[in-house]
Amino acid sequence: MTEEPAIAVTGLVKIFGNRRVVDGVSLRVERGEIAGFLGPNGSGKTTTIRMMCGLLTPDAGEGRVLGFDIRRQGRRIKREVGYMTQRFSFYEDLTIEENLSFVAGLYGLTPARRIVRDTLEDLGLSGRRHQLAGSLSGGWKQRLALAACIMHRPRLLMLDEPTAGVDPLARRMFWDEIHARSAEGLTVLVSTHYMDEAERCHRINYIANGRLIAAGRVADVVAGAGLTTVVLEGPNTAEAARRLKGRPGVEQVASFGTTLHVVGRDAAALRQSAEAVARETGTTMHPAETMLEDVFIQLMAASEDSLR
């Protein structure tokens, strides 16, 4: 039982109207792992998460979360999972402490008063315990939501875009907290758009148009994409970017300040085109490491092509 992965689902399908929002997603997350769940907006991340924590019944597929059947044991799963919704969904007209007491009551935690007090201390919320949740800034709201999710000591945490609209410092603190919990044995599934966050995960799963199209460790996913990247640097990168578009081997051109990232699958053709443009525009070219973001944009473009 303890060897069983935290999440093992296969062939999940959810159809809204005539749209297959989730189309045969299989996912495996080991215990104690931080799994990233990535994909563009509307790719089915939230729906998949909702199916896995028993909020939605899949139209097809099955699986087990923490050893419980997602179709039949939704109630057990809810008890053991902490689910943090995409949108702040605690009561803005309640104080931090009142919100936590409410959650403690729902989970039947005893002694509620002490558990709430400990959670407040743990997450550094003690000083603001009497503040209304609605008056908190984004970072503090997220902290409150996290506190409410982990108060009942779940074995699995599902975080749906937890850091949207949160400043870098708060994000850093948030991830430190997640890693600390993970070290204690908590399994975390976190969906995100941010590539730096994806790189903080042990393993990532990339979903697009309801289908899982890449999974594995970050380095594996990057290597698996088989992309080559070169960087052009110089005063005239705007002109270089214009000239690069449509050249053989060039699939992505992205400006980063004064540098230009050029990405493509065909390494030889890419290098040739980039060198030519570098000469024409007087910029310097040097090879660079492919970034996760490049891979994702490639994957997104590919999955869109496959739809057409």
Binding site: C53, G54, L55, R75, K78, R79, V81, Y83, T85, R87, F88, S89, F90, Y91, E92, V103, L106, Y107, G108
Partner: protein, 406 residues
């Protein structure tokens, strides 16, 4: 294009508003359904001159005179004798239950007195819970009945003959002898107020939960739908209990509406509290915006608003189309007025029924003792008819003492 008013900006706003209206189905319901429903309700269902009101006849001796009276009354179209030939006690029950609006009593010596020309008397007890209900029916009464008798006696020609042969019709406005409208409207408003506020508030509360996204969170935690619904409703049950109490206290303090039984108990057990429960059920089907819930609540309120009209225009005055609907609702919302539907002894009627030992004309009729009552007993002066007043000092023209029953 002015700084303060620009047609372009106004047009942009109007366009946006029209698009939103078009997308909102509830608006369509409000646009088409509401006027139609209101027209149907107000146009067809409300009748300010109710006809065919149910009546009971108490006549120990059935003779040609009683038949003449009954026929004449029925021909006015105001009375429909649904319970002819019942006992006085039965008639009292029917009236208290709201099964009949009138009880017509002809004493057992009625025919004899008519023939003798000895001050014949008949009694009509009208359910004046709603003061307006009886007025039309009662107003035609005296002349109709008198003419019927004259026809029967063949004394039409000598109309306005001797005073002592003339029929005297006693009219009792039961339960609300003074015809105080507040007695009718104030308890009735209780239902309307509760429906207005409770349905709205509970529907809103649940919709707000969905709107703010907190419902998602609730469902992901180990709370069952039943618990969530109960958790939503029960507090409003408390709120509505307070409302009931406020209305009841105000009814008593400001309007002196009579009560029977304990005020506290009544407010605690008032069936109107159930109204609070319909809100969440409503918004359960309505996952739209807050406004939608409000609209839907409005739609639900229609019948209640209809009944608010019914407070001024009583139930029995609604034509048959509306009566079914109205009666259904009123059984819910206006137990005080229709004790047959709900608890007894708490409403006006219960109060009216209280002076049970009052000696009424019917007591005589029922006991068959009317014949023994001496002519000077003053039946025709109504002295033997005890008041069914609600307030001290509001007694109508009757002496509290009955010579025959002490």
């Amino acid at each position: 294009m002015s700084r303060f008013f620009s047609l372009t900006r106004l047009f942009a706003l109007l366009r946006k508003e029209v698009i939103q209206l078009r997308r909102d189905r509830i608006t369509f319901a409000m646009m088409l359904g509401v006027p139609l429903m209101q027209l149907l309700l107000f146009g067809f269902a409300i009748n300010s001159d109710p006809k065919q009101l149910p009546a009971a006849l108490v006549a120990p001796v059935q003779d040609r005179f009683s038949r003449a009276i009954v026929t004449a009354l029925e021909l006015t179209d105001y009375y429909r004798f649904t319970s002819p030939g019942v006992s006085a006690a039965e008639a009292e029950r029917l009236l208290a239950r709201g099964a009949v609006s009138f009880v017509v009593t002809l004493p057992s010596d009625f025919g004899r007195r008519v023939l003798r020309g000895d001050h014949p008397v008949m009694l009509i007890e009208a359910d004046a819970t709603d003061p307006a209900v009886a007025s039309g029916a009662v107003s035609t009464l005296g002349t109709v009945a008198a003419e019927a008798l004259q026809r029967e006696l063949g004394t039409e020609a000598q109309a306005g003959a001797a005073r002592d042969t003339q029929l005297q019709v006693l009219v009792h406005r039961r339960y609300n002898p003074e015809g105080i409208t507040a007695y009718n409207i104030v308890p009735g408003l209780l239902g309307v107020i509760l429906q207005l506020t409770m349905v709205m508030m509970t529907a809103m509360a649940l919709t707000r939960e969905i709107e703010r996204g907190t419902m998602e969170n609730l469902l992901s935690m180990p709370a069952t739908p039943l618990e969530i619904m109960l958790g939503k409703m029960l507090p409003y049950l408390g709120v509505s209990a307070v409302q009931v109490l406020v209305v009841l206290v105000a009814a008593r303090a400001l309007f002196h509406v009579p009560f029977v039984g304990s005020l506290g108990l009544a407010s605690g057990r008032h069936p109107d509290l159930r109204d609070g429960a319909s809100g969440p059920g409503l918004s359960h089907f309505d996952r739209g915006a807050d406004a939608d819930a409000g609209d839907a609540a409005d739609l639900l309120l229609f019948p209640a608003l209809h009944h608010a009209v019914g407070l001024h225009v009583p139930l029995s005055r609604h034509a048959r189309l509306g009566a079914g609907l109205g009666r259904d609702l009123s059984a819910h919302a206006f137990p005080a007025l229709h004790p047959g539907g709900h608890a007894e002894g708490r409403g006006l009627r219960g109060r009216g029924a209280a002076p049970r030992r009052a000696c009424t004309l019917r007591d005589h009729a029922d006991a068959g003792r009317a014949a023994e009552v001496p002519a000077d007993a003053g039946l025709s002066e109504g002295r033997c008819i005890a008041p069914v007043g609600n307030r001290a000092g509001s007694l109508r023209a009757f002496s509290p003492l009955c010579r025959h029953h002490g």
